[in-house]
Amino acid sequence: MKLKAFLFVGLIGVMASCGGESNAPATESKPAAAPAQEEAVVETSADVDPMENVGIGPIDELEFDEEIDEALAASGKEVFEAKCTACHKTNKRYIGPSPQGIYERRNPAWVMNMILNPDEMVAEDPIAKALLAEYASPMANQNLTEDEARAVVEYFRTIE
């Protein structure tokens, strides 16, 4: 009896969330709605300061020079376009979030670890876990070297 009641409650929850989405006007554009939703999920489920959290992986801290290293950023752009653009666009939410303005939301070391160690990150890190729950597609491990990942995070500084 108890179990049944629990299931029933669960079902209502599912139905409510389904109903909510299907009631949304069909004309509402996906990209416009998405970013706000992402931030909402992350902040309610992650009891950490995203600017302080460096994540889990080989990088303990990363501080940027004041000046952007343009050569490094250019090589990062190349790597990003070859290995990352199937899931990340710089101008919109895609399979994964856009890296635009990422350092206003995340610690640079966290971004490095997300690139280099995505499996452990989505299993253990509260922010990465929340992102997985939201996007459903796990961050792919594209086997970038540490140097390549460093170049990519430098490139992210140049995206406007």
């Binding site: 376009e81 070859a82 290995k83 653009t85 199937a86 899931c87 895609y94 399979i95 459903a136 597609s137 796990p138 792919a140 491990n141 594209q142 086997n143 970038l144």
Partner: protein, 659 residues
Amino acid sequence: MLKKALYGLAIASVAFSSCGGPSADGGKKATTGALGSSVAEKAYVAPGEYDEFYAFISGGFSGQLAVYGLPSGRLFRVIPVFSQDPEKGYGYNEETKPLLNTSHGMVPWGDAHHPDISQTGGKVDGRWVFINENNTPRIARISLKTFETEEIIEIPNSAGNHSSSFVTENSEYVVAGTRFSVPIPQRDIPISEYKGNFQGSLSFLSIDKEDGDMDLAFQIRMPGFDYDLSHPGRGKSHGWFFFTTYNTEEAHSLLEVNASQNDKDFIAAVNWKYAEQLIAEGKFTEEAVKYAENEWDESTHMATSTIKKSVKVLDASKLPGLVYFLPTPKSPHGCDVSPDGEYIIGSGKLAAELTAHSFTKIEKAIAEKNFDGEAYGIPILNYEAINAGAVKNPGLGPLHTEFDGKGNAYTTFFISSEVVKWKLGTWEVIDRHPVYYSVGHLMIPGGNSREPFGKYLVAMNKITKDRYLSTGPEVCQSAQLFNIEGDKMELLLDFPTVGEPHYAAGCPADLVHPNTTKIFKLEENNHPYVTKSEKEARVVRDGNDVHIYMTMIRSHFAPDNIEGVRVGDRVFFHITNLEQDYDVPHGFSMIGANTSELLIMPGRTETSMWYPKEVGVWPFYCTDFCSALHQEMQGYVRVSPKGSNTPLTYTLDDDPLDM
């Protein structure tokens, strides 16, 4: 509660009574009784732990090679070699089709028999597995980095490539000996004129030290016998190769009677070092033939097939010193050389004893010209002069022998269904153990080398009726695993096998496991139709050919909406997997395509060909469950009527791809 206890009791009593009672394995179970569990532990590999050995077990008529772990008997993978395999798209995608090309055209099936692992300095080195195809004579090389077939060479002047594919102790050569003698060159003659007109050939394929590339170096023309099995000399007999023969009667019909007339057949001892010298001296004839040489290019992810047109032939009848015959009773099958290279064991299928020749005595008999006549100009050595001893009354129907590296030999007996352990030099039987049933070959890891790893023995059985749950009239073949560390062989495990295994090769896992490829690097992908990023994805029309440059990553294709394809087109899907993560392949299948799916590894490009036959909007999808959104990994191709002018478009999320 009561019910449960009763149930438990019932189970326990059944278990006990079956242990105590007479059982199929001749009462062995009774002696182990409750201790039987300790046997299970010896074959048990806990979840998450690795096996100690790899076993590569041939699939026989499946045409493939299966990869098992020992001691668990777990099947890890079936590597497609000589047969098309829709599970992996092998032989269906445009890249691997050329591997199955032959002088007879594309042959979609093969009969895979004897795998052997490459060696360095007489030890297995875990780099490649070689395996022969019996029906359309071929040898394949499989990489143990990628577990994929990298090369297949067809063998000309040959038929029924059985005495194959064993390698010499520094992987100088892999051999291919004909099973059936045939007219060479092929011609229209009465079959009754077999004797003296049909001939055999033994082929030596050189192996490149670095990349394993095989090359048909030379063939030796032989009398018209059947050549059954072979093994390389090693240690002191390195430089020689030994081939068993049957049908030295040269019968052409009802061989089960007519090829069993002679009291002794031969083991052909071939001096391949001398053959190299003869080739260098130009003592060969260049003959016109036709055979396919198919090679896989790791960089372009494509195989190419080349038809070759000549072969260097050495005539054993006219070149004294190249081949000698060792008389061996009676229709010998296995031809197995002891780890030190001294003893050549002939397993006469119809003989009452196992015959061991001594290499030292063979050399002496050759030096003293101690011959008992000749056959087609090839000297027959005196049997007594070369005989080292015999295992008396070992069993019925000996087939094949392997060695443990500790002075013992193990022979399978097909008719009496047993494995017999005996001692080299004293020839005494030490132990025997029944198998279930009708055992063919056996394998000890490193068995065809100077240093066998004498811990486990695998017996490969032809028949298993009543041994497992029934599956209709056909039941699986089986392998049985023995521990051979002690004086007595200990049966640890039965496990089913794929097809009808003829032989196996094994090696320690450490030689292979750390070196396996995990991904193919996108930047090293030189496939002519590669698409390295979504931006580059596109569709190009070239007359009636449409080339779709597509990418895949969890969990979408790019593009996923394609329009402007017409009935009568020939459509190529060139699909690149953009993943760079271990074990994330994606599949691709197109409704109505007269081929198989593709299964594309991370960083790889593969091509599927499709003829759209009907107007409509046709879906394609990913066949390998790749992520939570795998079910969403799909797309559509719109097919318009022939001659229509629907514009060619390709999009993802309704956007062009190069934005």
